[in-house]
Amino acid sequence: MTAILSVAHLSGGYTRRSPVLHDLSFAIGPGELVGLVGLNGAGKSTTIKHILGLLDPYEGEIRIGGKTIREDKTGYRRQLAYVPELPELYEQLTLEEHLQLTAMAYHLDRRTYQERSSRLLALFHMEKKLHWFPIHFSKGMRQKVMIMCAFLVHPDLYIVDEPFVGLDPIGIQSLLDLMVEMKKSGSSILMSTHILSTAEQYCDRFIILHEGRIAVQGTLDQIRKRFGDAGASLQDIYLSVARGETTWTN
């Protein structure tokens, strides 16, 4: 299996003197949904920023589809779509223009754009808000715009950072359905979240980060086995890691 995303011995952060991430290595194959779990400040968002190419690693390398960002910046970026934790929109553009610009940036033709966008708009109940400006959107609607922009592209890799906060129940379900659908069509998804029950239900594998290191990674069964309790929930395991009871981890 060739990995879509491979992270090898990544160390990085915001200042060289105090790196946030220490020697992270993991890979995500096609059709996999991997959950990135950890406390506030564990390094989830920093990991994501490195993968997006917004931060430069001090050591190690990140490849998407076999390419590093240094080798081919546009080619690297074309393969991924990102839903940030805090929605950032163009305040001066309408919802429709957001979608159109995304389509232009990722080389969609008009027909594909129309098919995909009308489906997404219906899914998130935003058809009537095509000509609205972000100032009139609630936090949840803003999040929906980000999600629609990302899922319009159909890239190989989705990076989804804490997507459920502020979404209404239908929005959450639509997003989960979309992720399952993209997975089936072969895309990979890296999702960071605190909603462990949902993660447990949907993710194929987990990466539990603790203080900038990978405490443990694998399928839920693999992790349970190491934890030594076949009935433990992700929540139990996660809390144990967070409390520093990490003798059983790597």
């Binding site: 917004l54 970026r77 950032e88 001066q92 232009m104 940036a105 969609l108 000509h131 400006f133 100032i135």
Partner: protein, 405 residues
């Protein structure tokens, strides 16, 4: 509450420090300072010429009264409030009386000085048109300041009232009547009655409604933001200002002229910059303003050489106004990740600025040639403006942007 009583001082000092730094930067930009001095001297010269050429029945008194009344009734109150205050200071509203009193006093001093400056500028016209009947300068100044006090007090009361439009109309009408009554030399009872009505309105209408109203914090903060933005706009003529706050105007009708026609990826930045220019902040309005002023100046100046100077300087100033569009923040999660080469962004920006300057040049040259009715002037002005547009965009801007990366 000691902290609250010191708050005004802290805020005002912080504002002064910031403003001073900006003035310092402005002072250092000697080219533009020279341009401004030159404009002042030239317009002084033309003012005098214009006065001498005025026809006999020119309504100078009315014009001066309108200008002074406008300056007197425009009374935004500088509060130095910020958005977070609506959360943190709201519970302490009752203890902020002194703070807001300071803020009204500050607004009065500042606007009073500007009002007197306007009066000084208007005075030659006033004296020229009213001749022997002119009211003494000091009397008019005193009335103007009194009107300012009344307007600021009323404006403050309006902050507690929901529907202010009728009050604003009333306020403007009374202010104008008072000023026209004094400056226009109406018989003494007229302005006196007007002043009495103003007092009555104050007591019976404004203050009475206020007693039951709630202070509208968001409107207050918005008012302060607008004033801060105006200053930054002005500073922005000279130097880059990190923006205070972004306002968006939908401009739906004009926007329909520029739909997304092609989905080619090289059309993305032209769309993005164009829509940002049209709708964000004040770019579009600023461009229109400069173009209209430039056209009027070119039309009325009626002199070949000077018109060339006007065209060139307006195009240059407009270009400077357009530059901040480049650093207009776009969302990192979208624009920051687009798989598009940065050079494409640069080219699109430069082309848009050039197009806008070229359109402006054509309009200015048309106005400049139409003024004296000399068709031959048109290509000359066009060439001058076109050359400046080219140098500014493909020379200066291109150089600056590629040095940046």
């Amino acid at each position: 509450m000691d902290e609250l009583s010191g708050l005004w001082k802290t805020r005002q000092q912080a504002h002064f420090r910031r403003a001073l730094r900006y003035w310092n930067l402005i002072g250092k930009n000697s080219g533009l300072m020279f341009f401004l001095y030159a404009m002042v001297i030239i317009s002084g010269f033309y003012y005098k010429k214009w006065l001498e050429s005025l026809p006999h029945g020119f309504p100078g008194l009315l014009l001066v009264s309108v200008i002074l009344a406008l300056a007197a009734m425009r009374s935004p109150i500088r509060t130095f409030l910020v958005k977070a205050d609506a959360v943190f200071l709201l519970p302490a509203e009752a203890e902020l009386r002194a703070y807001f009193r300071h803020s009204r006093w500050y607004s009065f001093c500042f606007q009073g000085a500007i009002l007197l400056l306007v009066q000084i500028i208007c005075w030659p016209l006033y004296q020229y048109t009213s001749g022997r009947n002119a009211a003494p300068f000091l009397l008019v100044a005193a009335v103007l300041l009194a009107a300012k006090v009344w307007n600021i007090d009323s404006r403050w009361q309006e902050q507690f009232i929901r529907d202010t439009l009728p009050l604003k109309v009333l306020r403007s009408g009374l202010t104008f009547l008072l000023i026209y009554g004094i400056a226009g030399g109406l018989p003494t009872p007229a302005p006196v009655i007007c002043a009495a009505v103003m007092l009555a309105v104050s007591v019976l209408l404004f203050h009475r409604q206020t007693a039951t109203g709630l202070l509208d914090w968001y409107r207050l903060i918005e008012m302060d933001n607008l004033q801060a933005l105006q200053f930054l706009r002005f500073v922005n003529l000279f130097t880059d200002v990190p923006r205070l706050r972004h306002s968006v105007h939908p401009r739906r009708i004009i926007s329909t002229l520029f739909p997304v026609r092609s989905f080619r990826s090289n059309r993305i930045y032209p769309q993005l910059f164009l829509k940002t220019w049209l709708r964000s902040d004040d770019y579009f309005a600023q461009y229109l303003r400069l173009t209209v002023i430039g056209m009027l100046a070119s039309y009325f100046l009626n002199n070949g050489k000077y018109t060339g100077f006007v065209v060139v300087s307006v195009v240059y100033l407009t270009g400077l106004q357009l530059l901040p569009l480049w650093s207009h923040p776009f969302p990192q999660a979208l624009e920051g990740l687009y798989p598009i080469a940065p050079a494409m962004k640069r080219h699109s920006f430069i082309r848009l600025v050039f197009t806008l300057l070229a359109i402006q040049t054509v309009l200015l040259s048309l106005a400049g040639a139409a003024g004296p009715g000399r068709i031959l002037l048109f290509p000359v002005l066009l060439a001058a403006g076109g050359l400046v547009s080219l140098l500014f965009t493909y020379g200066y801007t291109a150089h600056r942007l590629s040095a940046q990366k």
